[in-house]
């Protein structure tokens, strides 16, 4: 019950903050622009693609590239970013204030004085941020789905890619909350969270350049696990990787908050 009270309060604080709305408006406008460009490219090449047996369709050329640029980065490098790339910047900006600003306002002790364990405070805040970001994913998906009635969609592949994006958002939020728990100022939390997100996504670049695609560095990289899901393959090992990252980040945030109550 107290977790939901925390979630409700945190969600309310997000709803009244201009930053959350500005980020939502700008990114949705940018994603709408990407959708129009992807659609235009698809329609221009539709006849030629239809002639190729097993060639890419609407799902591969429009729906999934809305979520991530990995399928289009080689072909269309000039297109605006997909949701996955935007999330690397947007999530740190949303999560930076979660605990760092409470510290600045002097409101953090109020949570402890309400008799709430650190784990419930962290979990409540984490859920609020997820509740804000899930509609962002749904609005992005709504764009390609608006044409689903007239086109053949690969629903399984789209569901797998959507799951991948949901897990990525959940992991980035957890990392953001952890950074906010450790940082003394929201800007430091945002920077740390952005850097960690970028490091996780690009950890395997060097290994891939060296021709290694199955090493520990590849396993550590978020891209390895996200790409598989984006390409339509749901593997429990990939899902477990995301769950592990979320659990570790939330445990670190909880531990930091509990230590703060102890230390004062």
């Amino acid at each position: 019950m107290s977790v939901f009270a925390v979630t409700r309060l945190e969600l309310r604080r997000l709803l009244v903050r201009p930053l959350a709305w500005v980020l939502a408006a700008l990114t949705v406008a940018q994603l709408a622009g990407r959708f129009m460009l992807l659609l235009q490219i698809f329609l221009t090449n539709q006849i030629r693609l239809a002639a190729q047996p097993g060639g890419p369709g609407y799902t591969d050329l429009v729906a999934i590239p809305m979520l991530s640029s990995i399928l289009t980065s080689g072909l269309l490098p000039m297109l605006p970013f997909g949701l996955a790339e935007l999330a690397l910047v947007v999530v740190p900006l949303l999560t930076m204030s979660t605990l760092a600003s409470e510290r600045g306002n002097g409101t953090l002790p109020l949570w402890f004085a309400a008799g709430l364990p650190a784990s419930r405070i962290v979990l409540g805040k984490y859920l609020a941020l997820l509740l804000w970001l899930v509609p962002w994913l749904l609005v992005t998906l709504a764009m390609p789905l608006s044409l689903a009635h007239g086109l053949a969609l690969d629903w399984g592949k789209l569901a797998s890619a959507s799951l991948g994006l949901l897990l990525m958002l959940a992991a980035l939020v957890a990392i953001g909350v952890a950074c906010s728990a450790y940082a003394s100022h929201p800007a430091i939390a945002a920077t740390a969270s952005l850097m960690l997100g970028l490091a996780l996504v690009s950890a395997n670049v060097g290994a891939l350049v060296a021709g290694i695609d199955n090493g520990i560095v590849n396993w550590l990289s978020m891209s390895t696990h996200l790409d598989t899901l984006i390409r339509g393959l749901v593997s429990s090992a990939d899902v477990a990787w995301f769950v592990l990252v979320i659990a570790v980040a939330l445990a670190l945030a909880t531990q930091r908050l509990a230590a703060e109550r102890e230390r004062g």
């Binding site: 309310r12 306002n105 002790p109 109020l110 309400a114």
Partner: protein, 251 residues
């Protein structure tokens, strides 16, 4: 006849801050309906003591009992038993007065009907009606203090912890605060009030405890001491770290 269970018992609590003892070996007892004034110069350990009593800080040693139960073992007791107004009433600047009350009520476990009732009562008592839709970030210092007090009182706690509550209040608001403290005490709430204003203690408290360098140096009923006498004791402790009991006896 057995003694009533104390609302608050501090048993030899100790807390270090920045490598030095902010509170050392402090023991106190507070019964229902009592108002204890905690006096001390800046840095005497008043706010640290109150933060521990409110559950925002854990003591390094000793014990705290709330209504006879171990507060360190059961920090969830703070939820319904304690109401806390920290120094400078920390608020969420982006939320309105009403949203603050709702959030505090939910965090304290009040159900929707209880919350509506409690909110109406406290808004009326503290005259917050005209401010209900105003953002906390634009409130004056006195209004912030009133909102902080409303949040602390919302769930009708058995123990009210007030840290410098008269800060930034005008004389009319101070008189109103004193009346509120007496009213709450008459209803059975135990109140612990930190201040460095002697007049605040003589006007609102039954008992006074003076802290100096984290240690309890004086604990006596207020009725036995007039303002002048209390002032002398306070200065003796503040300047020499000694309450000079002989002078108190003579007075």
């Amino acid at each position: 006849m057995s003694a009533p269970t104390a609302v608050l018992e501090l048993v030899h609590i100790t807390r270090h801050r920045a490598g030095r003892p902010a509170v050392a070996d402090l023991s106190l007892r507070l019964d229902a309906g009592q108002v204890l004034g905690l006096l001390g110069v800046n840095g005497a350990g008043k706010s640290t003591t109150l933060a521990m009593v409110a559950g925002a800080l854990v003591p390094d040693g000793g014990g705290i009992r709330l209504q006879g139960r171990d507060f360190i073992e059961h920090p969830e007791l703070a939820r319904r038993v304690v109401g806390w107004l920290p120094e400078r009433a920390p608020l969420w600047p982006e939320l309105t007065v009403r949203e603050h009350l709702d959030a505090h009520g939910r965090l304290r476990g009040l159900r929707a009907a209880e919350l509506a009732q409690a909110r109406a009562r406290i808004v009326e008592r503290l005259e917050l009606g005209p401010l209900a839709r105003r953002l906390a970030g634009v409130l004056s210092q006195g209004q912030r203090q009133r909102l902080g007090l409303a949040c602390a009182l919302l769930h009708q706690p058995a123990l009210l912890v007030l840290d410098e509550p008269a800060n930034a209040l005008d004389p009319v608001q101070v008189a109103s605060l004193r009346a509120l403290i007496r009213e709450q005490a008459a209803a059975g709430t135990a109140i612990i009030l930190s201040t460095h204003l002697l007049a605040e203690v003589t006007a609102a408290c039954d008992r006074v405890a003076i802290l100096h360098e984290g240690r309890l140096r004086h604990d006596a009923p207020v009725q036995s001491e007039d303002h002048k006498q209390l002032e002398q004791v306070f200065f003796d402790i503040a300047m020499r770290g000694d309450g000079n009991p002989a002078r108190m006896q003579a007075a």
